[in-house]
């Protein structure tokens, strides 16, 4: 017995794909709002600690790896473009292969981001930029800044890894079943999630790498 592409993309308890798509998008937008509050708590902590210790924070900001951060920002913005194109083209079956290629490009850029992040972490560890005994920056507040740095970038990397998993699922199931790929709301939802993770990074980039750089 064969099922139609609609049936395979349609999930319980839905009758038609358009309503299902609406629901999926509603869900992911509210999830993004929730996630924004999650990172929001951390941003508030950053703001308070920066206000308390402006000099320490700026001095600490000067020790972050700007080259790593900048290249990661470029990588991630490119990945956002790729995933946006993937989502926009996914619904046209004729563009299915192109769309799935864009998903792969997004994943490659995501892995590149994590690789650069890993190199940056190695550099930071060599510089002993870990709060605790032996921390190289004397100024008050610098340790708080780096506590934010490690917590926020690690949480962001976790979110990005989840996004890679979601993209991998799209790529694999999409290759097996191109019709499902053109019907399901999953491409749009994944793209929105990926976009959210990128937006968080752009905020983190400004907060982490730019303080203390002005001359």
């Amino acid at each position: 017995m064969t099922t139609s592409a609609e049936d395979r993309a349609l999930r319980e308890p839905w009758d038609d794909l358009e309503r299902q798509r609406q629901a999926a998008l509603t869900g992911i937008w509210f999830f993004s709002a929730s996630e924004l509050l999650f990172f929001g708590g951390l941003f508030v902590a950053y703001a308070v600690n920066f206000y308390l210790w402006p000099h320490g924070s700026m001095e600490a900001g000067g020790h972050t790896g700007l080259a790593y951060g900048l290249s990661n920002t470029v990588v991630l913005l490119l990945s956002s473009a790729a995933v946006a194109v993937a989502a926009a083209s996914a619904r046209w079956p004729a563009l299915g292969r192109f769309s799935r290629a864009c998903v792969w490009v997004t994943m490659i850029l995501g892995v590149a981001f994590l690789t650069i992040k890993g190199l940056e972490y190695r550099h930071d560890i060599e510089e002993r930029l870990i709060p605790g005994p032996g921390f190289p920056i004397e100024a008050r507040g610098a340790q708080l800044f780096f506590a934010f740095y490690w917590t926020s970038t690690a949480l962001h990397a976790v979110h990005l890894t989840v996004g890679l998993g979601l993209l991998l699922r799209l790529a694999i199931v999409g290759a097996r079943d191109p019709q499902w790929y053109s019907k399901t709301p999953a491409v749009n939802v994944t793209a929105l999630y990926w976009g959210f993770v990128d937006v968080v990074w752009t905020i983190l980039f400004v907060l982490i790498y730019l303080p203390g750089r002005a001359t």
Binding site: R11, E12, P13, R19, Q22, A23, T26, G27, F30, F31, A33, S34, E35, L37, F38, F39, G40, G41, L42, V44, A45, V48, N49, L52, W53, G56, I130, P131, G132, R140, G141, Q143, L144, F146, A147, F148, W150, T151, L155
Partner: protein
């Protein structure tokens, strides 16, 4: 019989009476892999019942310790762990999930005329997150408990406590995301799955309360998750975000914690308000007074509830101007709450009131919530709060809201929808007795705490000056009565599952789509998807008092679907 044939079971008259309880399979595996919102609601109900009694035992031991002024039954350290675990379990594993994940799950799709929630698999996943979080609570308990209080204040929780803080943090973090997923599921369901004709202002207030609470659930718990993550990062990796030794600000943690935990109070109480708004019109045979204002009040409470958190920090060193604003906003949030109490009372006016157990519990809710709310205004006044901070007055205040309010409403819901959930009637006389016993037991337990708190008895101490002993003895004796009242439903409701009278589809002659389907409902809720053409709570014609109506008039008004 295969699962495929079971799916079509509602067509067979023989299977009708078991509905969703038999369709989809009888095995444990079929329950653990179900995506049926009704079964997931029951999984949640069993889970939180276990935690309710564990949290209850923890505080029962603490209350026994308080019978004598000296610290003699358990050590001070054990006492700290007892009340901390009581708070952690009761807040995150009973009160926050209590009504939304059980009755919300079970009823919300039926009340709006849908087959299921928007994301059934996500719904099951939510339960697994809660269950995994629950396992970490057991880890924390078996390892000896946590002693930080349910508030995890830093720097004690992050740097100094040698108790099992980490498993408790993980438990709350994981189950918190389970709750967030439930909130997203509810919001999406209400937005996209209402039956034809179910306009926003025809939604039953229980659905509105689920919508308001879901907004709070989506926006508040992530902040707590971040605050707890920061504590974990400090405990495990030594990353200081709040540590004063490195220049951090412990007050910042308190802000983040209460930014969650005050809306969490509304997460606990809004569903209770929804339940009571269903029960009171039904047993008063009256339209709900001021439906639209009830809706606005629910949403207003959810929104204003986000800007009052600083009233927990009047003595923490917050600026005087912040205190002023938070005090003012705390008074503001009382306005919609008062509207609701007024409207429930006005609903009774000229009603044909009957005193079934759900109604008794609801009356208990209204009275106890009012007392809890009014004493909340005492505490919102800065000069009084400075005197009463961290005394038993605060303890009594929030137990009147959370236990007198939410738990009463939980039991109201349990009795009101028990026939729908199980297909059996509960024994009415013993249920009424339990409801009354619960009301008195509650007041015996917590009213003395108002008095001793006002007289200066601080919270969180296992030993105290002897002049407070009489109040503590009263309170502990009341807790014993309350414990019996909580255990009674466990027995007679279990009994009714096997021996109770079979319930008709609509035993209370209530309005609402959930009563138009058999008890227990079939797997897909409705044999034919409903169309809505009446307002909610149409217990009598508009502009007509109920006494001039005949029973047939009411039946005409109730339905809508052929």
């Amino acid at each position: 019989m295969t699962d495929a044939t079971l799916d079509h079971a509602p067509d067979k008259p023989g299977d009708d009476h078991l509905g969703y309880l038999s369709e989809g399979g009888h095995t444990l595996w079929s329950w653990l892999t179900t995506t049926d919102h009704k079964r997931i609601g029951i999984l949640y109900a069993l889970t939180i019942t276990v935690f309710f009694f564990i949290g209850g035992v923890a505080i029962a031991i603490a209350r026994l310790e308080l019978v004598t002024p000296a610290q003699d039954l358990v050590s001070a350290d054990t006492y700290d762990r007892l009340f901390s675990m009581h708070g952690i379990i009761m807040v995150w594993f009973f009160l926050v999930p209590s009504i939304p994940t059980t009755f919300g799950n079970f009823l919300l799709p039926m009340m709006i005329g849908a087959r299921d929630l928007a994301f059934p698999k996500l719904n099951l996943f939510s339960w697994y997150l809660t269950a995994i979080g629950g396992i970490f609570v057991f880890v924390a308990l078996l390892a000896g408990g946590t002693d930080t209080g349910w508030t995890f204040y830093v720097p004690y929780a992050s740097n100094y406590s040698d108790s099992n803080v980490l498993p408790a943090l993980i438990a709350i973090f994981i189950s918190g995301f389970g709750t967030i997923a439930t909130g997203i599921n509810f919001i999406t369901t209400i937005h996209t799955m209402r039956a034809p004709g179910m306009y926003w202002f025809r939604l039953p207030l229980f659905v509105w309360s689920m919508y308001a609470v879901s907004l709070a659930i989506v926006l508040a718990p992530p902040v707590l998750a971040m605050a707890l993550t920061a504590i974990a990062a400090e405990r495990v990796f030594g990353l200081p975000l709040f540590n004063p030794a490195d220049g951090g600000d412990p007050l910042l943690y308190q802000h983040l914690f209460w930014f969650y935990s005050h809306p969490a109070v509304y997460i606990m109480i809004l569903p209770a308000m929804g339940v009571v708004s269903e029960v009171i019109p039904c047993f008063a045979r009256r339209r709900l007074f001021g439906y639209s204002f009830m809706v606005y009040a629910l949403v207003a409470i959810a929104v204003i509830g986000f800007s009052v958190w600083g009233h927990h920090m009047f003595v923490s060193g917050q600026s005087a101007y912040a205190n002023l604003v938070f005090s003012f906003m705390s008074f503001m949030v009382a306005v919609p709450s008062a509207i609701k109490v007024f409207n429930w009372t006005a609903t009774l006016y000229r009603g044909q009131i009957s005193f079934e157990a759900p109604m008794l519990y609801s009356f208990g809710f209204v009275g106890l919530f009012t007392m809890g709310g009014l004493t909340g205004l005492f505490l919102a006044s800065i000069p009084i709060d400075i005197q009463a901070t961290d005394t038993y007055f605060v303890i009594a205040h929030f137990h009147y809201i959370m236990v007198g309010g939410t738990v009463s409403a939980f039991f109201a819901a349990l009795h009101f929808w028990w026939p729908k959930v199980t297909g059996r009637m509960y024994p009415e006389a013993v249920a009424r007795f339990a409801a009354i016993l619960m009301f008195f037991g509650f007041n015996f337990t917590f009213f003395p705490q108002f008095i001793m708190g006002w007289a200066g008895m601080p919270r969180r101490y296992g030993s105290y000056p002897p002049e407070f002993q009489i109040y503590h003895v009263l309170s502990t004796a009341g807790a014993g009565v309350l414990g019996i009242a909580y255990l009674m439903p466990l027995f007679y409701l279990t009994w009714s599952i096997f021996y109770g009278r079979r319930a008709p589809a609509n035993p209370w002659e209530a309005t609402g789509l959930e009563w138009q389907t058999p008890s227990p409902p079939p797997k897909h809720n409705f044999e034919r998807m409903p169309v809505v053409d009446t307002e909610p709570y149409a217990y009598h014609r508009r502009s007509e008092a109920p006494e001039v109506e005949t029973q047939t008039d009411q039946n005409e008004q109730m339905g809508g679907t052929p």
